[in-house]
């Protein structure tokens, strides 16, 4: 079988990422291992949004809250595990807290979508925004879990004995493995029957209904899968920072995820990684010089829209004949 450009890009990207920690250690720039971990967590979140937007055709502003809810789920379970008296059984194992974050993301996604999908276009955008803000204020007002001060975790989740996530390099490789798995799942999903149906709905939903597809249900499931991905990204982020605040659920966060998706390429398999990397690297590099680093981001966004309207991810994929 001949590997296409998409595969080659993925192989090269993963190899470079695998080599990143040793290179960073050698050049004494370990700081960048943390940056790269953040990029990978956001890459999963952006890929999730890309599934919803690029394949499902749903422009959602609720993705930030799903990411935040995933982060809070992990943090809350971890904090509860250290308390003597709790009404929630806590857990510190990543095998419980991370899937829990995905489950919460999926269920919230399902709930939000089940109502939002009764509307269309700009109304859909607005109602997902409303749900995002509702969740924001929910966590904002939960005094038990820090309210607007946010919630800290004493330590990262336990994954496997002998595999200490406290070590930034180990944690980076775990994030890389999860990202790789997520991308593979995304690839399979997009080419499955389900993915084909999503594509059909994005192109021409009324015709899909006329063909006999209950399009509502497919979009609902798509949104829930995107929610699970966002929840996982949230679990990784809170583990990296050992802290989560309602700021992570701010609707600006949903906007940031959208900007990342557009930078990386709507509907592009590697759009999540490229979009998250472009955004965060620009932020990282420019914010060292100026607080107004978003000017640089604006320039990048304009350049991408003008010269690579299908996003950075599309630069590596030949256009269909």
């Amino acid at each position: 079988m001949k590997l296409g450009a998409t595969w080659w890009f993925g192989i090269v990207a993963v190899v470079l990422l695998v080599l990143l920690p040793p290179i960073a250690s050698f050049t004494q720039q370990e700081f960048y291992i943390g940056v790269a971990t953040r990029v990978l967590a956001y890459a999963i979140a952006v890929s999730s949004l890309n599934l919803v937007l690029g394949h499902g055709g749903m422009l959602s502003l609720a993705q930030g809250s799903l990411l935040g809810a995933g982060a809070y789920t992990t943090a809350i379970l971890t904090v509860e595990a250290t308390k003597d008296v709790t009404f929630l059984p806590g857990a510190t194992s990543a095998w419980i807290t991370w899937p829990a974050a995905m489950l919460v993301g999926a269920l919230l996604g399902l709930a939000i979508a089940s109502i939002s999908l009764r509307t269309r276009a700009i109304f859909f955008l607005m109602i997902t925004l409303a749900f995002n803000q509702m969740l924001y204020y929910l966590f904002f007002s939960m005094k038990v879990y820090g309210g607007d001060d946010g919630l800290g975790m004493a330590a990262r989740s336990d994954l496997l004995p002998g595999l200490a996530l406290e070590n930034d390099t180990v944690f980076f490789y775990v994030a890389l493995a999860l990202f790789a798995i997520f991308t593979f799942v995304q690839h399979r999903l997009v080419h499955s029957r389900f993915g084909r149906v999503l594509e059909g709905i994005r192109i021409n939903e009324p015709r899909m209904q006329a063909l006999g597809f209950d399009t509502y249900r497919y979009k609902l499931v798509c949104f829930a899968i995107g929610g699970a991905g966002s929840g996982l990204a949230g679990a990784l982020l809170v583990n990296k920072n050992l802290f989560v605040s309602p700021g992570l659920l701010d609707w600006l966060q949903s906007g940031t995820l959208l900007v990342m998706t557009i930078l990386g390429g709507v509907g592009q398999l590697w759009g999540g990684l490229l979009g998250a990397a472009a955004y965060l690297v620009i932020e990282e590099l420019l914010s060292a010089y100026t607080q107004r680093w978003q000017i640089g981001l604006g320039v990048a966004l304009i350049a991408v829209t003008l010269y690579a309207p299908r996003g950075l991810g599309a630069l590596f994929v030949p256009r269909r004949p």
Partner: protein, 249 residues
């Protein structure tokens, strides 16, 4: 023989306009039943209600003896009712074959399958190729629909509706905007469908209608003014006055 598609006293109003006014219609199995009438007679409104995209205000629709009046459009397909559109509605950016595969997928088992590539399902592609052959598009399977001629796209439009092996096919002006040669091809296509399905045909091309139809129903201002065999319709004075005019004499 009991009709495969029947409406009784179907009514639909848009504000002050009665688009469907007490329409009772019987379509028998394996007939080509034409629905004709001047512009604004409510033909497309009727098709919309039969297909399930428009909600009737009153009356019932029976499909194969089952009351489908309030059934959503996508469920009617499973009961053997499929439609084509007056304005071509295909999947841009996909090939002819991929368009048809999507259509086949709709009634070939669950599509809540997330892992196996659809391209590995030979049965989907076999059926899609069968449909492509049926609508004379075998040679154009790998062409993007964006590059099809108008006539070819109309053939695909019918093909999409045929993929589910409907027992009743609603064809909304399949020959709209076609040249002579393209119309002739479409006419042969509908002729071939007669053996496998029942067709309710909305069409403005009177020559085609009178050649194809076993029975014709004439709709004017939302009302059925006549229904019968082509000869009867041609002789019907009310129809000639209201619609056919001198062209039919």
């Amino acid at each position: 023989m009991s009709p495969v598609l029947a409406t009784t006293s179907l009514r639909k109003r848009f504000g002050g306009i009665t688009a469907t006014d007490d329409v009772s219609l019987d379509v028998a199995a394996h007939e080509v039943h034409a629905l004709i009438g001047p512009n604004g007679a409510g033909k497309s409104t009727l098709i919309g209600q039969l297909a399930g995209t428009l909600r009737p205000d009153g009356g019932t629709i029976l499909c194969n003896g089952l009351d489908v009046t309030h059934m959503p459009a996508h469920k009617r397909v499973a009961h053997g009712l499929a439609r084509s559109y007056q304005i071509t509605s295909t999947f841009r950016g996909l090939t002819v074959l991929d368009n048809l595969v999507l259509a086949v997928q709709a009634t070939a088992g669950s599509s809540f399958r997330f892992w196996r590539p659809a391209s590995a399902e030979a049965s989907l592609y076999d059926r899609a190729r069968e449909v492509a052959a049926l609508v004379d598009l075998s040679a154009r399977e790998d062409v993007l629909v964006d590059h099809l001629s108008h006539g070819e796209e109309r053939q695909l439009e019918v093909g999409l509706a045929l993929a589910s092996r409907p027992r009743v096919l609603l064809l909304d002006e399949p020959m709209a905007g076609m040249g002579k040669e393209e119309s002739a091809r479409m006419l042969h296509l509908i002729e071939r469908l007669r053996s496998s399905t029942t067709v309710l045909l909305v069409e403005h091309d009177m020559a085609a209608v009178f050649r194809l139809a076993d029975r014709i129903t004439v709709l004017v201002y939302g009302r059925v003014i006549a229904s019968g065999k082509p000869d009867e319709i041609r002789r019907d004075r009310e129809v000639r006055e209201a619609y056919l005019g001198a062209a039919a004499s």
